[in-house]
Symmetry: D2
Subunit: 371 residues, 4 copies
Amino acid sequence: MNHYDVGIVGGGIIGQSIAYQLAKEGLAVVVFESNRIGKGATSAAAGMLGANSELENNDAFFSFAKESQRQYHKLCEELLQYSQINIQLVDNGMYKLALTDSEAESLQHTTKHHQAIEWHPKDIVLNNEPNVTNEIKGALYIPEDGHVSPIHVCAAFAKSASHFGATILENTPVQRIQKVANDEYRLSTPHANFTCEHVVVANGVWSNYFFNELGVQSGLKPVKGECFSFQSSEIHLERTLFFDHCYIVPKGDGRFVVGASMVENDWSTEPTLGGIQSLFEKVIPILPNIKSAKLLETWAGLRPQTDDGKPYIGKHPTEENLYFATGHYRNGILLAPKTGTMIRDFILKRTQQEEYVNAFSLDRKLVKMMR
Amino acid sequence: MNHYDVGIVGGGIIGQSIAYQLAKEGLAVVVFESNRIGKGATSAAAGMLGANSELENNDAFFSFAKESQRQYHKLCEELLQYSQINIQLVDNGMYKLALTDSEAESLQHTTKHHQAIEWHPKDIVLNNEPNVTNEIKGALYIPEDGHVSPIHVCAAFAKSASHFGATILENTPVQRIQKVANDEYRLSTPHANFTCEHVVVANGVWSNYFFNELGVQSGLKPVKGECFSFQSSEIHLERTLFFDHCYIVPKGDGRFVVGASMVENDWSTEPTLGGIQSLFEKVIPILPNIKSAKLLETWAGLRPQTDDGKPYIGKHPTEENLYFATGHYRNGILLAPKTGTMIRDFILKRTQQEEYVNAFSLDRKLVKMMR
Amino acid sequence: MNHYDVGIVGGGIIGQSIAYQLAKEGLAVVVFESNRIGKGATSAAAGMLGANSELENNDAFFSFAKESQRQYHKLCEELLQYSQINIQLVDNGMYKLALTDSEAESLQHTTKHHQAIEWHPKDIVLNNEPNVTNEIKGALYIPEDGHVSPIHVCAAFAKSASHFGATILENTPVQRIQKVANDEYRLSTPHANFTCEHVVVANGVWSNYFFNELGVQSGLKPVKGECFSFQSSEIHLERTLFFDHCYIVPKGDGRFVVGASMVENDWSTEPTLGGIQSLFEKVIPILPNIKSAKLLETWAGLRPQTDDGKPYIGKHPTEENLYFATGHYRNGILLAPKTGTMIRDFILKRTQQEEYVNAFSLDRKLVKMMR
Amino acid sequence: MNHYDVGIVGGGIIGQSIAYQLAKEGLAVVVFESNRIGKGATSAAAGMLGANSELENNDAFFSFAKESQRQYHKLCEELLQYSQINIQLVDNGMYKLALTDSEAESLQHTTKHHQAIEWHPKDIVLNNEPNVTNEIKGALYIPEDGHVSPIHVCAAFAKSASHFGATILENTPVQRIQKVANDEYRLSTPHANFTCEHVVVANGVWSNYFFNELGVQSGLKPVKGECFSFQSSEIHLERTLFFDHCYIVPKGDGRFVVGASMVENDWSTEPTLGGIQSLFEKVIPILPNIKSAKLLETWAGLRPQTDDGKPYIGKHPTEENLYFATGHYRNGILLAPKTGTMIRDFILKRTQQEEYVNAFSLDRKLVKMMR
């Protein structure tokens, strides 16, 4: 029979992280992926774990991100054991470059709040990363912001979840979620119907449909990110470079990944000529000898953005046993581990940190309005 | 505003053929494709126009198929004009091989009913196609069964439909179809909702969901077909070879396409090792020097099969302005042109050939039962 | 035994055209290709047959090019017959755009010398090709400059040559050519040695090595051309656009091919980031809505350029039975047919047009110096 | 000027290993690669480090292989540091399966000579690797035979060599090697000529040409190996499986690599239909549920085989400063590290282990004959 404890809609890194955590606890889990696992926003991401570089306030969101970042070290071993898949964790840190004096000042300022980061003046940066333009004014050195291979993480979560008995259904879009009894949801797919006690909607910006259908105003919208990769015998980078919402990540296979444009409300998933050109224009001044690099691939993905930039990780406002885990915007890879354990704790009714519950709840907008 | 005369669910060759015919008549048409146009069953097909080789009865279905086959000659010119895309029509005919004496007898028998085909004894076949094994007993020569490039046909329909004003939306899955007024349907997608006066469901086996949702027992099921392509300087074929539900099509770019396995109720769209192996086992005895050919690509697609093997091309049993065009099984490419004009004629309330209306109606099962 | 009448070094479009013409005459021909046929400069080309657009003087070279262009119409049928491969000849003509008033004047001027071309003022151009920027000043309309698919032409020549008994050896680099007897050359490869009565060196810029080795000062150098392809539902072009050494070719499969950069003395065959960016910068002002087009692929190839821009098609200055056919620069596809028949006529000792023999002879530089 | 201390012909894993070791010692090194680095036999290999599984005698060759295998552990760290590339070393060991009782007996026998391996009876094997057929009779467990990603190793060697100043020239085939002075060789390429004090020929089976040209009877011949990769959520393997010259390697990215056929004297580098079919036939009985696995890719490579199965790693019999490093057959990845240090020691005139010098010398055949 097609009955499971938990049905997870979406087989990207978020859905698989949740599946892994729940299957490990012994629950009967099914993951519905409309295409192939990890082939949406997950595979488009560069895999930066940019807790310090991406987030600017020292709030609950930041603590959550840092916890998630730290989980990767343990997960790396754990997933290797259960899945034989190496998630390619690289931990050489990141340079957040200052291109103007005012940026330099503002970046230097942030070192006061964060212990883990330090300011490197221009000469040190150029000494450490000689391929960077000498037009820079210095850089923030963030040792903790490493990177992983998102598609490997997703595959490792999925295979480990399978190891603990989870069912992963590819090519299986969920068309509709209906409550059919007090503790039963029906999920309709073109193949068959399934019933599940708990349902987690975790299919990125495409969760939008279920929000609407299930009566929640999410304000979720896509922000398309275009990327490219290159190879070069002349360019050597030890750290990720970050500047102007752009990054250059030196992957452990010799490729460099550059991303990402930000195109709002574009639902297409192919890179456009204009988008790639805009990246070229940003990157060439930073890494001048990139002009002779071999262009390898171009691609794009849709990041789900919420009104306030924070994800939704929580319960449906009124329906029992219905959860959402989406809206991770630029930080889906970084936040996947902790999102997995947080949804696990909701379903298993374990104690949660209240500040996280509030920060990522679906009705936080309502709460704000009532104040 | 998101309002159109006709909304077509499915951007494969069937949906695009319908869109082209309706846009040409001046209707405001929108096509919803969940992925990219033609990337489902369309791109998996070899493009055989096997009216004579695939169909065995001299019935309405056969006449319909022959009409559709003939339409391709005119379409080839027409689509080139509007889209600049060449659909790669090749018209060298087909050999349906007899591997045993009883097959030879049975194939010879069919020449009595069909004027367009003739029996070639073994020596003529081997003279015309010297790479074929001399184990064969002869072959049916079917001059009218040529082939096209399905993905080019689909792209040419789509571009020509655009030329006449149609809107083609890729990456836009329709999640739900609801009647919201007497002459208005609402189609929900993750991006936005659309209203349409007429709706055509034409997304192959995935139409299954809408049949169920709209209260029709379709009995539609997937029959997965696995294929591969090869290249060989040693093999020269002028005609398509057909045997044991298998074909070898010499494409106009020097590749040969071989298909297809038939795996029932498998919804996955990737070729399996076992499926490809089963094709190898069928093909090697027919074309012995294929063993030294270069293997190029392998792929798979899902053919939508109905209970009686005929497509559904017709109206919803009770709801006005709601049409289905699916269930074309192994013959989607062949039947696309005529399916397009038939749905056009339904929507424009033009006279139709009654035998086709009956043959492909959705309630033909009911009719049968009542007799 | 490894003995042949003619050994052809290079399995690109030039070598295969020669092989086809000679095999058809009954000679025993072998083609040596170091990689796979057509995978060098041939597959990198867009396939423009730009006799009128590329060549500016009304000289022997121009007549030769026009003859070669005309041969394509007959070849198209002929090669289809022998190889079943369709070379994708498209004959919709070309617009050579004037971007400034002085360009307009100069282009208008050329209509005086060429009957086959005419000047279209801006409004006619924009009416015919509405996607072109209205910044243009008009265009030369060149109806005879169509295009083919180079890789299909090359494959069709090769398969037709095989049909007439030629041997095509892929993965077989010729390392050395030595005269071993009065009418015998030895060609050494890593696999085996071959002897041939006649040798034709036709491997593009890599012929350079054999020129040096065989004592000819060729001055052959690579001019790397980088290209990309795109797809767009919004862009419709009927004619090829040509401007500033750049072209946009609407191929018969719905793709558009854009090329090509010109990087001298670069022997690498991968597209660089800087090269592709330079194409973007040229193309965007001409076709503004290209910015939203889907970027498909990028690639590069090496065009062999001679000192005076004309190919070498002729005999070794002193050695008997040794021929060169290379240096076709931007016009290899256009000139392949006539190069094939010209080398054939040398080897079969048929009468040749003296003006062509002189124009493309290897010692023309010497002749010039002596005058 | 184009002068270097050492010129290495061949940019595969062997050539790059040598380049790395010599560049690290401060020599001016140039590597000539006719295509792109690692795109020959290197990228075709599965990367098994099968010292115990591939070699059957406890001789000098075996010791050499074991030393090379051990070097990988240190290299893994070292190359990561210099190149940022992770070579994907996986160290879970291998099962060499016994399919018959006599195989079981013979494999059990080998445990007597090798401390590092042990016999696992059927039930233990099936417990550890439940996907293996229960038709097996047991297996040899070889904990030390892990695997790496060959293309990553090659890229890491190359980038580390560059780090120490080596020049890596892609797209640069060496056509000829000539001694032009007592301590100077000229290497001719289509681009330019180079002079080098020392020359190392390391381009796999294509070294054959230089052996002949330089007067050495090598008996080198290609043994083509065809491979494929697959993916499966149902199959979990912790160890490499080895049987009947075939292996199934569970890579750290979730793919499985299966190889390899052995086709003698075939110089083509594409997988044939017959070759892939022969692998299917071997693999299906061992891993029955592989039939439902997704077939991903197929490919082939040429392994250079010598008469006695051992590589040539040594000096030219008579010419000074001319070295060969080729003929590694099925063990190129395994032997690359130690080959690199051995050639380094020749060139730097360091002491070598005599047993290795003798085992891999070019004139060992002569020596044998003279005995």
